[in-house]
Symmetry: C2
Subunit: 338 residues, 2 copies
């Protein structure tokens, strides 16, 4: 076994967009495992926008990553050593191991992955946190009804693509917002969205209005910014807005200039009786098994499709993550560690 | 019977604060009633902040009052003529009669008022729309749990005072925001609020933080503006914000200057998993009977108290309404028509 654990730690807190110098690749000894513990070797490392939040020390639902510590991440890894009789060597598990090759744990918070049921990387993608974020937020808060219009941004990403496909399965109309013609084509031609809007186009508000002739009943919010501004005037009475992310604002360093749009939002909340609700996937932890069974079945039946964007090598994780916040990935971004 | 119907019509749409010249007192003939109709003579006329919205022609859930038409209002009146066998002369009913002395109707949308059960004016107050707004918004959206902190502004008014008292009945801590020491004393000494904060004081954010040492779990939003800004940093994870009014913004004529607070709100929605939901009382129309029975019982048992601010004479309605938007009333504002 390789005696070196390569890991990427937070070298400094990003101010605005993360830069390569905020990350540092280190080589440390592979941890020893004690009684009851297992050693996991990372095979797929999930990169997700929420990690930007963990790199800041602003108050949030999660404690920030400390300087010098590996960045948070869920991984799919192989058990390469075990002093835990319940977890055999050679099996695959998910674990919150962080951006590193080896991770010692007593197994709490890890979960077995069956490589015969689905490709293992999906355990941190369409069948993992991103998928469950889409599933729980849309079904618990969005609650789309047949004939309603559901809009989601970052729609070619792992959360948005599942939001749109589940909306379709529930009989709603799915409109996706994505960056560039390739992603938009993917939404309508491969995933079955009813319409796709390119947010890089000249007139996002106009294009979105055209794609939503009957207004918007559910807006699944994961980006914020200009998309939210375009959505706001199109919201129908009793529209629901699950909020799971605000990628466009993660790199913001100061409050944007005026005018102050808050009173306008609140007026719309009142006159349209909007329901806006923030959530994270753990708020619905008790729905994890239902989620995996239902979405797993949809995948096997060909009713749900997914796409992965695989980057090779731990050393390329920082660059891939920086690109993720700019929408450079096409599909669920995972780092494969050979 | 007096053959003249005095009424107050919308002379022009207010720009910003309503002014006396936006209203006009008219004398028109008392309407004739046809088969199946009744004639109602207004005894108590309810003045409520929502009427400001009806004076504008901005898109909303309700159609605006037309120029030259009486302003919308619910009244308690006496049936003074009837060609409807189900509705006897001499009985009292609520009706959406508007700012006028006489109103002909087939009775739809009217409701009998029992003068022996409670003072008739309460049918447009604590046992009417304002009371039901407090009851349904707090219990359906706010859902206070024992030990939680509930904050409400305009707390000496008909909605806020009931919100705080119901919060107490549900075991929560009630903090009211009101204008001036008299109203604040009324909240703590007469209504049993745990704390009262004077929004005219020098440091509203500081005073509110002091009154809410464990943060805010439910903020019942009926004013907006500076109060909402003071509330926002104190909200606890999973806080609920029923939104039924934004009095502070009703007279606004343009988007306020920056900074833009919308991204900050959405960040708080996400990190604190806030639940913000607009509503109007009719969204819970099926709870009207439960509301009247439960709050009626609380009043009879002395568990809920209410206060009315009675203005004499229809001709004084415009001035009273202008004062309402400035918080000059103390208790539910009603116009008594002798």
């Amino acid at each position: 076994m390789n005696a070196v654990n390569r890991r990427i730690v937070l070298a400094s807190r990003p101010h605005g967009e993360p830069k390569p110098e905020n990350f540092r690749l280190e080589e440390v000894p592979v941890p020893e495992i004690g009684p009851g513990q297992i050693l996991i070797r990372t095979r797929w490392l999930s990169l997700d926008p929420y990690m930007r939040g963990r790199m800041s020390d602003a108050k949030s639902y999660a404690t920030p990553v400390q300087i010098g510590e590996p960045i948070t991440a869920e991984v799919v890894g192989e058990v390469v050593a075990s002093k835990n009789p319940d977890i055999p060597v050679g099996t695959l598990r998910t674990a919150f191991a962080g951006w590193q090759e080896y991770f010692a744990t007593d197994g709490k918070g890890t979960r077995p992955v069956d490589p015969d049921a689905a490709p293992p990387s999906t355990a941190v993608g369409v069948l993992g946190m991103p998928g469950m974020t889409a599933y729980t937020g849309l079904l618990n808060i969005g609650r789309p009804k047949p004939g309603e219009t559901v809009v989601v941004a970052a729609a070619a990403g792992p959360v948005g693509s599942l939001v749109g496909q589940i909306a379709k399965l529930k009989g709603a109309r799915a409109v996706g917002i994505a960056g560039g013609p390739d992603k938009c084509r993917y939404l309508t031609e491969e995933l079955g969205f009813d319409a796709a809007v390119d947010h890089r186009g000249a007139d996002l508000p106009g294009a979105l209005a055209e794609a939503c002739p009957k207004g918007i009943d559910v807006y699944f919010e994961n980006v914020g910014g200009a998309v939210f501004s375009a959505v706001l005037p199109l919201l129908n009475p009793f529209a629901r807005i699950p909020v799971c992310g605000l990628v466009s604002a993660y790199n913001a360093t100061e409050a944007p200039a005026g005018p102050d749009r808050l009173p306008g939002l609140m007026r719309s909340v009142l006159t349209n009786r909007l329901h806006i609700q923030g959530f994270i996937v753990w708020d619905f932890a008790d729905q994890a098994e239902t989620f995996r069974q239902e979405v797993g079945a949809w995948i096997r039946e060909g009713k749900v499709r997914y796409r992965e964007d695989v980057v090779e090598g731990l050393e390329n994780a920082p660059e891939a993550f920086i690109g993720l916040l700019k929408g450079r990935n096409f599909g669920k971004l995972v780092v494969h560690i050979p």
